[in-house]
Symmetry: C2
Subunit: 408 residues, 2 copies
């Protein structure tokens, strides 16, 4: 028997270029299912829900909801907030007040923990509610799923930038002879590894890739850059922000600060390596730090990724209405050539706070590049481009009115 | 009477996304004119020419030459080299040996100085040769021309990135509340200013723009960021790498090194400002340093810019064959709505080493944003997208065989 009641969807953690495809999938599929009940948004994730910042999405313009499919950022706003035991009573009170029986939470590892805590809280309080996690992360580090919505687009953008700046470096190697690109991904090297998609010829960028899954050695790094430089006259390095030495110490500066989930905040490893190249090899280097462009570059997003993100949102609603709860939607690759991917499910209890790292067998023996198996895995995920409406020379992104339809 | 003899084209300085459109325009127009003489490339600019690194472009595959129109980097390779008086004899000897009567040099301020020195050297030696400068620079700082090929594409890319990362910041402002984007442009703020194209609504990113044309004050900066942060809860800052204080001292670290032209090498102003925000206001900040992606992002280049870059190359050949020499091709805007732009010319003697800065009247009274007049000037330059052939999910850029057809 299907539970009668309203739905809520919310987003959490760092956005991806396609996170709004998932939110749009949830909203549009809920409308299509025509249950007679409303769908709300928790504005700014669970934090907004706890603060009663909830809007009725059925009052939004349908064209604006549809435009979420080509809009980066978190269209419903996001938060980084770890649910506390003291939040449980408030949460249940809000679910009761608005008769919320379907809870869709769109995020990464930490957000799946939030979804799981919400599931447990509802269960403990005897509040019947279907809780479904909708995956997203450019880090690609959620377990049980073949890959994560958001990764393909970030991978496509980073690979394009590496190809372009690699061609730039090759063609004017008389000044800055080493380019270092710093990629996001604290503990998992998936996105850093994706830079390898740029390379068509053995001498092309990137030449060296340093991943957080294996220890980093400064002296080995210097020797490897120097060897490439001696052969080609220039060298292109891609490095994860989270690389550590064999003692487990971060190579990046600024390890003192931690976020709400206790994760160390990193920045500057690219500059550390740039300074190493200049001081130890004595050649000029340049560091490109793409930062948040990696998770928001909808202007060059992967259509495969965008479509899968939408599919995950759609499937979340179908699963919930089929009586599923306490699970996250997953992506299951059925074949690689032709590429075919369907949805599956995994228990939130198993997903919460678990990070899936790049398999060590996909890292080469020298620990400075990825294997062809990784390329075969990643290539299908960057295929196709999203059709973007343009206005005044720039992508015409939507901004929802997040004050409209606010619940009292 | 038209001079009988071969042509050479070469590229110099930092590439732009569309610099190869100009080289392609020169090559294809030379072929179309069908003079019966060859067109060569100086591989790696004037440095390559002096070293005799010259290839016969008529031996390249025409499809590959055409593919330069969608390929970033310097397709003919580039250099940063200041011609010395001692180079003149060698230069003339090479021109004589290969009967080079047409010299097309594709570059920015420094490169136009090289073209001018070449023009003077040929004249002094009594070697009749038509010397034409073909403009390019993302910095947009060449004098006499309304704008420079390369600027529109860099402006489009930076504006797209600011819009996207601005939406990202706005939608998840619970951690890094200030985003700083560091833009290229040592002494001229054109590209930094172009970030303003991203803003559609008054509260949207970017909120503050700091330009090298006016003095920068750290205390004023802190007060301005704090004021925006208090109103919106976040703040997006775009800053030129070349900002200085009222004593003329660079705000960026690392001012000790100079390049071949004596220009100070800058990096890190974004990090300086990030640290200021964190230490003086006590809120977390993030710095995006796009680096060389700004000058190579063909994946989101401006079609207007690409077409004008090609037109400048075409026009250079026509001007040379019409007997012009010692001039640079310029762009003259005939109307803004509809946008119409034609080519003109300016003497190399007046162009060489002169930097055109952003007019102070296009900077607001508070010195922290640009005026609507700048937006009206810049908007037409970012219109349209280049049609990119894709392969395996990424742009299919060409690589010429720069060994093929090498002259002896």
């Amino acid at each position: 028997m299907v539970l009668k009641g309203n739905a809520i969807v919310a987003q959490s953690g760092g956005p991806t270029a396609v996170i709004n495809n998932s939110a749009c999938g949830v909203i549009e599929e809920w409308m299509r299912q025509n249950t007679g009940d409303k769908i709300f948004a928790g504005v700014s994730g669970i934090k907004g829900i706890l603060e009663g910042n909830i809007i009725d999405l059925t009052q939004q313009d349908a064209a604006k909801i549809a435009a979420l499919r080509h809009t980066p950022g978190a269209g419903l706003f996001s938060c980084r907030y770890k649910v506390q035991p003291s939040d449980q009573e408030k949460m249940i009170e809000i679910f009761r007040r608005h008769n919320i029986r379907y809870f869709f939470y769109n995020g990464g590892n930490d957000s799946m923990d939030t979804a799981y805590q919400t599931y447990l809280a509802a269960k403990a309080a005897g509040w019947e509610m279907q809780v479904i996690g909708v995956p997203k992360t450019i880090d690609n580090d959620l377990p049980f799923t073949d890959h994560c919505p958001g990764f393909g687009s970030a991978a496509k953008f980073i690979a394009a930038c590496v190809r372009e700046t690699g061609i730039d470096l090759e063609s004017v190697s008389t000044k800055n002879k080493v380019t270092i690109l710093e990629a996001m991904g604290r503990n998992a090297g998936w996105l850093t590894a994706a830079a390898a998609l740029a390379r068509r010829f053995p001498d092309e960028a990137p030449h060296l890739i340093y991943l957080p899954e294996v220890p980093f050695s400064k002296s080995k790094f210097i020797a490897e850059v120097e060897a490439i430089y001696k052969t080609l006259g220039y060298c292109y390095v891609v490095v994860s922000e989270g690389i550590r030495d064999d003692q487990g110490e971060y190579i990046a500066a600024g390890t003192a600060q931690k976020d709400a989930f206790g994760h160390v905040q990193l920045s500057g490893v690219g500059d550390v390596l740039k300074n190493l190249v200049e001081s130890e090899i004595g050649i000029k280097a340049r560091c490109n730090t793409l930062g948040t462009t990696q998770r928001s570059a909808m202007h060059f997003a992967s259509k495969t990724d965008a479509d899968e993100a939408y599919m995950c949102g759609v499937e979340a609603v179908r699963m919930a209405l089929a009586g599923k709860t306490g699970v996250m939607v997953t992506l299951e690759r059925e074949s690689n050539s032709p590429y075919k991917c369907v949805t599956g499910e995994a228990p939130l209890s198993g997903v919460a706070n678990v990070e899936k790292k790049l398999p060590v067998e996909w890292i080469n023996a020298n620990h400075n590049y990825v294997t062809d198996e990784f390329i075969e895995y990643a290539r299908p995920l960057i295929m196709g481009e999203v059709d973007l409406p343009m206005k005044d020379g720039l992508p015409d992104y939507v901004r929802l009115d997040l004050q409209k339809g606010r619940l009292l």
